[in-house]
Symmetry: C2
Subunit: 456 residues, 2 copies
C-alpha cells in the first residue's frame, strides 16, 4: 500500500517537521498591528522558500495589505487547493503568558507533548500539517498524486480586507475541484470532524465623545455627560433579559435548526458542563431555551471584545472622560446579512445617544455564515480517511467560529470547501499560552496524507 510508506515517512520526519513549524512560529506575524507588517512579510517569504523546497512554483503575491502566498505543484486529473493563514492574533495581555509567545517550545504535559506559542494552533501548526503531508508524499513517491495549489493568507486575523479582491482577480488560478481548509478543530478534542456549518462575523468599533476634553469629575461631575456611562447603557441595551439581541431586524434570516441535524447533534453526546468547566464556568449564559451546542454552533451572538474609557492605570484619577470606546462583534448564522445588521446597529446606537454626544464607527471585517453540502463521494471518502486515522468515526459538525474563506470559495469561485482541522478545545487560540498538541500536528499530517490518497 502506497499510503503506508507515506505514513512511515511522516512518523520518521516528525522531529524535522516540528523544527520547521517552530521556525515559522518564531516570526511574530500579527496582522492587525501595523508594527508587525515586516514580520508578516517575513512569514510569507519563509513559506515561499519552503514551498519551493518541495519543487513548487511558489510566489509572494502583493496586496494593499499583507501578501498572499500562492504555489502550484503536482500533476494528475484532480486539482486540489489547500488554504491556511500565516498571520496570528495579538498576544496581549502579555503578562498572562508563561513564556515569550514568539519563542515557542515543545512542552511535556500530563496529557502529552504540546507545541506552545502564538499561532501554534491558529493557524501555522494547522497550515503546516498539509505542507508536511505533501513533503512526505513527494519524498516517498517523487511526486504528488494530484495537482495541488497552496493558497496562504496573511490577513485572516484582521478581517481579510484583501481576500475577496484577490480571489476575484485570480479566479481562474484558484478555481479547483475542491478547497481543503485547515482552520477548524476536532469535535470534543477527540473525534475527527468535517465542519459543515460556520457562523459569519460582523465587527464594529465605536467611539462615543461627550465633552471635548477629559474633565475633573468634581468640577463637572453631575452636569457634564459622561460617555463611559452612555456606552455602558448602549452595551447593556444590546441584549434583553432573555439573552436575545435587540438590534432591530437582527434575527431576520436566522433559521431554526433542521430536525435531522438537531437529532445528529443530540446524538453527539456533547458535554456542555465539561465544555464550560474547562474555562471556569458552570452554566450556559446565552439565549434562554437553547442548548449550549445550539448557542455556539447555530445561534447568532453579540459580544463585547474590548471596551475602554478614561483612566485605566494604577491608582485612581477622578477624571470625567471625554471618550469611551468598544469593539463589538456579531456572530451570524443562516442568511443574516452583515451589512444590513451593521446599518441597523449603527442606527440603534445613534438613536440612543443623548444630547451633546457624538459617535464614530470603524468597520471591521464582515462575513456571512456558511452551511455546506456534504453529499457526494469526496465527503464520504474524506470522512472514511479520517476515521481510519483516528480512534473515533469522523463526524459532520458545526462551528461557532467564522471562516469567511469557506463561503468565498463557494460563492465567488463555485468551489466546494471542505473544512478539516485538528485543533482541540483547550488550545487557547486568541488567548495567552496558545498551544497545539503534538498529537494534533502528527495525526493531522497523517490525516491529510490519507485524505489525499482517498481523494485521488
Amino acid at each position: 500500500m502506497s499510503i503506508d510508506a507515506v505514513l512511515s515517512r511522516i512518523d520518521a520526519d516528525l522531529p524535522a517537521a516540528t523544527d520547521r513549524l517552530l521556525r515559522l512560529l518564531r516570526i511574530p506575524s500579527i496582522s492587525t498591528d501595523p508594527a508587525f507588517a515586516d514580520d508578516c512579510d517575513r512569514a510569507a517569504d519563509w513559506l515561499v522558500e519552503d514551498l519551493k523546497s518541495l519543487g513548487f512554483n511558489a510566489e509572494k503575491r502583493l496586496t494593499p495589505g499583507h501578501p498572499m502566498v500562492v504555489g502550484h505543484g503536482g500533476e494528475g486529473d484532480r486539482h486540489l487547493l489547500f488554504y491556511g493563514h500565516y498571520d496570528v492574533q495579538p498576544v496581549d495581555p502579555l503578562d498572562l503568558w508563561d513564556r515569550d509567545p514568539f519563542d515557542p517550545e515543545i512542552q511535556d504535559t500530563g496529557a502529552g507533548q504540546v507545541i506552545r506559542g502564538r499561532g501554534a494552533a491558529d493557524d501555522k501548526g494547522q497550515l503546516m500539517t498539509f505542507v508536511e503531508a505533501c513533503r512526505a508524499w513527494i519524498a516517498v513517491h517523487g511526486k504528488l498524486p494530484a495537482r495541488v495549489t497552496f493558497f496562504f493568507e496573511g490577513e485572516e486575523e484582521s478581517g481579510s480586507p484583501s481576500l475577496v479582491p484577490f480571489m476575484k482577480d485570480n479566479a481562474e488560478e484558484l478555481t479547483t475541484d475542491l478547497a481543503l481548509i485547515c482552520d477548524t478543530g476536532l469535535f470534543e478534542s477527540r473525534v475527527p470532524a468535517i465542519t459543515t456549518m460556520l457562523r459569519g462575523l460582523l465587527g464594529e468599533e465605536l467611539t462615543i465623545t461627550g465633552p471635548d476634553k477629559d474633565l475633573h469629575s468634581g468640577m463637572y461631575g453631575g452636569a457634564a455627560i459622561n460617555p463611559a456611562r452612555v456606552l455602558a447603557r448602549i452595551i447593556a441595551a444590546l441584549h434583553d433579559d432573555t439573552g436575545r439581541i435587540t438590534v432591530p431586524g437582527f434575527y431576520d434570516g436566522v433559521p431554526e435548526l433542521p430536525a435531522g441535524l438537531r437529532g445528529q447533534w443530540d446524538n453527539l453526546g456533547f458535554d456542555a458542563q465539561a465544555f464550560l468547566a474547562g474555562v471556569g464556568l458552570s452554566e450556559p449564559a446565552g439565549e434562554a431555551g437553547r442548548t449550549a451546542l445550539e448557542m455556539i454552533w447555530s445561534r447568532p451572538t453579540c459580544e463585547v471584545n474590548g471596551m475602554w474609557s478614561g483612566y485605566t492605570g494604577a491608582g485612581f484619577k477622578t477624571v470625567l472622560p471625554s471618550q469611551a470606546s468598544a469593539k463589538i462583534s456579531f456572530r451570524l448564522v443562516g442568511d443574516q446579512d452583515p451589512l444590513a445588521i451593521r446599518e441597523s446597529f449603527r442606527k440603534m446606537v445613534q438613536d440612543m445617544l443623548p444630547p451633546d454626544c457624538t459617535v464614530e464607527f470603524t468597520p471591521h471585517g464582515t462575513g456571512r455564515a456558511g452551511a455546506f453540502e456534504t453529499t457526494g463521494p469526496d465527503f464520504a471518502a474524506a470522512r472514511q480517511a479520517l476515521s481510519d486515522e483516528w480512534p473515533d468515526e469522523a463526524a459532520f459538525i458545526g462551528c461557532g467560529g467564522s471562516i469567511p474563506i469557506a463561503g468565498h470559495f463557494a460563492d465567488l469561485l463555485g468551489v466546494t470547501p471542505m473544512l478539516i482541522g485538528f485543533g482541540k478545545e483547550d488550545d487557547q487560540i486568541h488567548s495567552p499560552n496558545e498551544k497545539y498538541d503534538m498529537e494534533s500536528f502528527h495525526k493531522g499530517i497523517r490525516s491529510w496524507a490519507r485524505v489525499l490518497d482517498a481523494l485521488t
Copy 2:
C-alpha cells in the same frame, strides 16, 4: 502702610517667583503611580530647602506613603497654618498634551500669560502663592506678622492614605488658630471666593471575572458569560432615567439647599451655558429638575472615571474577555456616609452578578462632604482683603470637588478651615495641557499678603 511695601516687593519679585515655581513643576511628582515615588520624594526635598531659605524650621516627615513637609516660622499672637499639596495627577493621555507636561513654560495667550504644565494649577502653583507671600513679607519686614506653620502633603491625588494618621499623630503641632487651604478656584474665573461647601468623595475600583481566561468569541460566544457585558449592565443600572443614583440608601443625608444659600447662588448669575460650552457641551446632563450649579456644588454624583476590558489595541481581536474593570467615584454632600455607601454599592453589584461571575473590589479614597462656618471676624476680614485685591467683591461659594483635608482640620483638630484659591475654570486640572494663569499666580500671592495682613 506696611502692606503696600509687601505688594511692591511681590510685583518686583514675580519673575524670580515664577522661576521657582517652574523648578518645582519640573519634578514629576505623580503620587498615584509607584514609578514616580522618587520624584515625589524629590519634590518634598525641594520644598524643605525652599522653606529653610525663608528661615523656617522645615523637615521632610516620612509616612508609609509619600512624605509630608512641615515647617514652622514667624512669631506673634496668632498661629496660622497653611496647607497645599505637592503631588500631581497622572498625565495620560500624553498624546493630547501640546508639550512635555513636566517641561513647563510661560505662554502668551490672547487672554494673557499662562504657566503651562502638570501641577501648575493643582496644586503647586497655588501652594507657592502662600510661600511667595511669606517670602515677600519677610524680605520687607524681616519677619512674619504671626506664627506660621506650613503643611504640605504628597498624596492628595491618590486618596491621602497617610493624612489622617499623620494628623492624629501630630495633632498638637498642627493645631492652630486657622487652617488656610489653597486648592480651590475663583468663581467664574473672575470673582475672588472663599469656598464654604465641598463635596465628599468615595472611590471604588471593581473587577468582574467570568471565564478563567480570555476566550475565542467564536468558540465560546453565546454560551460563555461576558464580563464586559455584565459590567456595562451594572454601570447602566447605577442611574435611573431621571439621572438619580440607584444605590440603595444613597440619598440618605443629602439635604436640600437652604433657601438663603439658594438665593445667594441664584444672585451669582452663574452662566451654565457658558460653563458647559467651555468643554464642548450645551446642556446639563444630571438630575432632572436641578440647576447646573446645584448639580456641581450641592448634589451627589456617581461617575465612571475609567473602564476597561478585553482587547483595546489597534485593529480587531475576537476575544471574549475573562475580566472587565471600572474605576467609579461618588461625590458626596451633606451627611452622606462614604463607608455606608461603599457597602451598599458593593452589595448592589454583588446582587446583580449573574452565575459564574465574581467581583473583586479595591477601595480608593473616601472623604465626607464639608460645609463650613463663615461667621466670625476672620472670614469678614479675609473677604474684605480679597475684595481689596480683585475687581469684584469676594463671594462665599460651593465647590463640586472634594478636599477632605478641610473636614479633617475641623473634625480631627477643631481648627476652622478657610479655603481660598485662584484657579480658573479653564485651567484643565486633571486633564492634558493644565495651566495656571499668571494673573492667578501674581494676584494670588498679593491676595495672601493682604489676608495675612487682615488676619493679624
